[in-house]
Symmetry: D2
Subunit: 342 residues, 4 copies
């Protein structure tokens, strides 16, 4: 690798933006050439995230001013609705990895889920869905990659191979998911104050969470037809981490075998021994998805539990994994290492 790819990160003042910076700082094939933010434009990165004091990083530019000159890859870690405009103004040849929902859905589905029109429908068809393990060819060649949401990532990685193989009944799946608070972003908010979140749990968006269309599309595609599933997200007192507890009809032994076989060579998926289930704290900071399969007490049913760090495999880590593919680098570059526990 003669030269490092020149990278821009838009939305560097948010949590997924900062996580991209953390990961790329130790990436041997990438150079952080541009950082941009909205209200924080003009500041040093160490002013908005003091953990970066002492690292040589560009100051924060204004998101609106970024056109991509001199960059190879741009990550957009912006609120929904901003990446459409960005994609339209990027110079030809600059590749975009978008961590928002902007390029995950067909325009009409997007408009319904997010209540705003899709701002770049002409570019949608060329966008690759960046669930890396299941879309490598498309990602490698794409100009725009739609990085998946954290809830879909935690749910799809175990379910896609099982639905494809016909090992679980597509008509009846329950996904009960628990997320850390960083998924809600760094915006000022009463609901996410420490005193409102600590020492408690609650469900939210019950029956109607925004990630559902993304989930539904990918599940349907894997099953080759409509999948019937329930999905409930919960917010709990942890910064990072996501656990999905998935109830399916199918034989636990078969499911375990299929997952173990499918993912045997994958560096970022780890199927636990039969009967074991994962903890989110063991993937803290790591680009991993741990999956366990246990027979349910009811005959013919199984419980699958998957764990990711919502900011890594559920967002910025998977984005870097996609970048590696796009740049022709080994997929694990800059993403190795164990989680931070305790």
């Amino acid at each position: 690798m003669a030269e490092r790819a020149r990278i821009g990160i838009l939305g560097a003042s948010g949590y997924t933006g900062a996580e991209l910076v953390r990961l790329l700082l130790r990436h041997p094939g990438a150079e952080i050439a541009l950082l941009a933010a909205g209200k924080q434009a003009g500041k040093g990165m160490d002013e908005v995230f003091p953990q970066f004091a002492g690292f040589d990083l560009p100051r924060l530019e204004s998101v609106e001013s970024v056109g991509g000159e001199g960059l190879d890859v741009v990550f957009a870690a912006l609120p929904h609705g901003h990446a459409h405009q960005l994609a339209r103004r990027l110079k030809p040849g600059v590749r975009l990895i978008d961590l928002s929902a902007d390029f995950r859905l067909p325009p009409e589905v997007y408009a319904e889920a997010y209540g705003i029109p899709h701002g770049a429908p002409e570019l949608q068809a060329g966008a690759a869905y960046g669930l890396t393990e299941w879309n490598r060819d498309a990602v490698a060649g794409a100009g725009i990659v739609a990085n998946p949401g954290c809830y879909p990532t935690a749910s799809l990685l175990p379910l896609i191979p099982l639905l494809r193989a016909g090992l679980v009944d597509p008509s009846d799946i329950v996904i009960d998911a628990k997320s850390g608070v960083s998924g809600a972003g760094r915006g000022e908010s009463q609901a996410n104050l420490y005193a409102e979140v600590t020492e408690g749990i609650h469900a939210y968006g019950v029956g109607r969470h925004r990630h559902m269309p993304e989930l539904a599309r990918a599940l349907d595609a894997a099953a080759g037809g409509p999948v019937g599933f329930s999905f409930t997200p919960h917010l709990m007192p942890m910064s990072r981490g996501m656990l999905a507890t998935i109830y399916v009809r199918g034989k636990a032994g078969d499911l375990h075998n299929a997952l173990a076989e499918t993912y045997a060579a994958e560096p970022f998926l780890r199927i636990l021994p039969p009967g074991a289930t994962p903890q989110t704290r063991h993937v803290r900071g790591a680009n991993l998805c741990l999956v366990g399969v246990v027979p349910d007490r009811r005959e013919g049913r199984a419980i699958i539990v998957s764990a990711i760090d919502n900011l890594v495999k559920g967002a910025s880590g998977q984005a870097v994994q996609n970048m590696n593919l796009m740049l022709g680098l080994p997929e694990v570059t800059g993403l190795e290492g164990a989680g931070l526990f305790p």
Copy 2:
């Protein structure tokens, strides 16, 4: 009420024991006449729980020495297996409220679930199951009350009326439950160290948790036949609180109506407005069960969420509620007041 009932608490050095002390200290009809513990016997209560410094409480006696002389009601907050012996040696007329599983199950079911024989099978038939709202007559007259487990309490309160009324399909229920750590008790344990629990979540006992036989019995009884359900408990970083997310087949509107009607006059159950779901932090320290009902995205299905404080309505609070019934006191005595939030 001319005189206060004289109360003994066995297992006062554990969390449910301490919670009984907290609740009874402000109870106008009860006097804490005896406290007992195992290894901590001989100490002052303020030595094992400094929050009680300054309160006039008896020193901790040895559990083994307690026969019930001079007591009206004995609470047993002991590990499984101890209440059987206690029940046999209590003086006639002393009533027992047991917070363990010892009197919740028929002897043969108990033996299988807990791996030890039932130590007082001759007393089992006379024990009342203390899910107060559904067993008032039996509790009021019983010599032994088996106080329900926290997981069953959170699950049964919403499900019993719906199964009785035939409003949910008994063949397919999923209960995904999340518990605070105090439910695991105060024993020395690596798994429950702060650094092992904070900032993460995991499922445990998947497919085979000990509370399942208790749950199954009560659900079957409500449905008048076998109920098919999955149940997964999770441990999360909070001291107190329990949330059960329950997936059922049934019409959300009907379910909400039935719950609202059934529990309209109950002081300790609160059915939230349609579409709203509860947070555990809002019942912290309170003897309440909050229940919300939301239509699932799938036609003909609903999601029910219930929240309790595992140490209060899930243990010691419900035990005091049962005591009130047994003593002929108003059921809410000593149990009023809002939760502690933030």
Copy 3:
């Protein structure tokens, strides 16, 4: 007590306001007759604090519209600067307990510390400083009580008697204080988001915290001359609680004796045995101040540690204690009971 006093709470949508509601709901001599808020005016109390669902409480009025008609006591739990105007418009005879800094300082000191002029200087002289244990006569008769800040409360309760008795050297005191996040209020804030606060600690306002003039005034008064002290507040990941670690020159044995004697009959102060130090978690929800005294490793020096719940003895609990005095009720009314632990 034939009738309950009629109470108004302004700022009921904040944490100290909610804590007043929690405490007064179980107070036999008080009736919550009015609740008011700013932006949340018009809502039900259970909409802004769901732990109050099911309790019979008035809807939130607008703070600006409150004149005190029909009320005996008004609590103001409002941001700094609002109580001055309120005090001016309250009907004669309505007594005010202000939880902000508005009436704690002489007008010129207030103006310097808060950067705004004192809005009711003509009323300042009549305001009593509500550190209850040290100002009972004035509080009992006052029309306006300035409830102390949490940092001053935790520091002054141990230091005042020692300075008065000349047992500590007034020229050299270090107060290192640690606070839970609820002290920062419920306003939207990036700095107080869960993910920004959990699993870490930091000092803030080092060398220049706003509570310093309040502290200095009271310490000087106790010593009868200027007291030299350093004070550093820290924010830590807990909702409630405050610990002050105080380094003084003096003999630990003498200090302990003096504190034990001074506070022997006080219901809300508890001096631990010599050598023992308190934990904040043991006063959670309780109107208590625990104090421990330990000899320093350096000859002639001692370390004093005091613990309070910042929302109770550090704010709303002490305010109710003052209300009891003002109404001629036993001081402990509505404030008994042990802390919530775990």
Copy 4:
């Protein structure tokens, strides 16, 4: 670097042992050749720390069987008292980095502080105190390195240069320190259960903590005479992190200048701009010490705040830094990268 050094880690089932594994897994000059533990001997590393599943690591041997054959460097992360025996049985040429207190103190001081005799007094003189920045030459050539404690590290890094330069008054220093729970180790313990630690703070070992002799020795050496200081450690609800708030007599401007100059070229020390103070969460997982200096409100005094991750710069990170020196590698090898926040 032609070959990787072969490393053994004793005590790999504890937190500092696991942190050594995490750091060395990404170290290009080291190979983990041996892992050993006490009770956990025989298990795979992923059984005791699941975050290491998928990494190629040796199984846990028994600590007692380790003699150092084939190893270049051995890290001992064992309870106090074990490294003495280990040092005696290590083969000649195998170098030892001990994370316990066993080689930090002269035998007679050790015996008094730890209540057991020093088990290898003949080796003590040859042991280097591994506060890297202040003892590079000795560390580089030593056969035994005594890695400093976390409290001394956080305190000494800011204080040594100031005492050496005579910029602070050595007769009066107060160190108020706050630590995460991982410092207490992974042993079963009631006091460190989640429910006992969360949402509260307390001081411990007040006036008599075991780290004091280590602190005193190093401070005295820096000052060239006895230093008068008070020291209070506190335990707070976080896994990792340590903050020391240090009160000194001296001019803040001079102190800041001296620290900034002394540490200008140090990769692991960062002096914040004047008036700014650090947060522990910004060094989570990083081998950094952040230091801030603020003028006290009292003339002629200053407040210094330093932050480290107790498991990294306070233990395993500094140990790897020492290893790099001993092996002649660049000191930063394997230790670069930003902290994990949020």
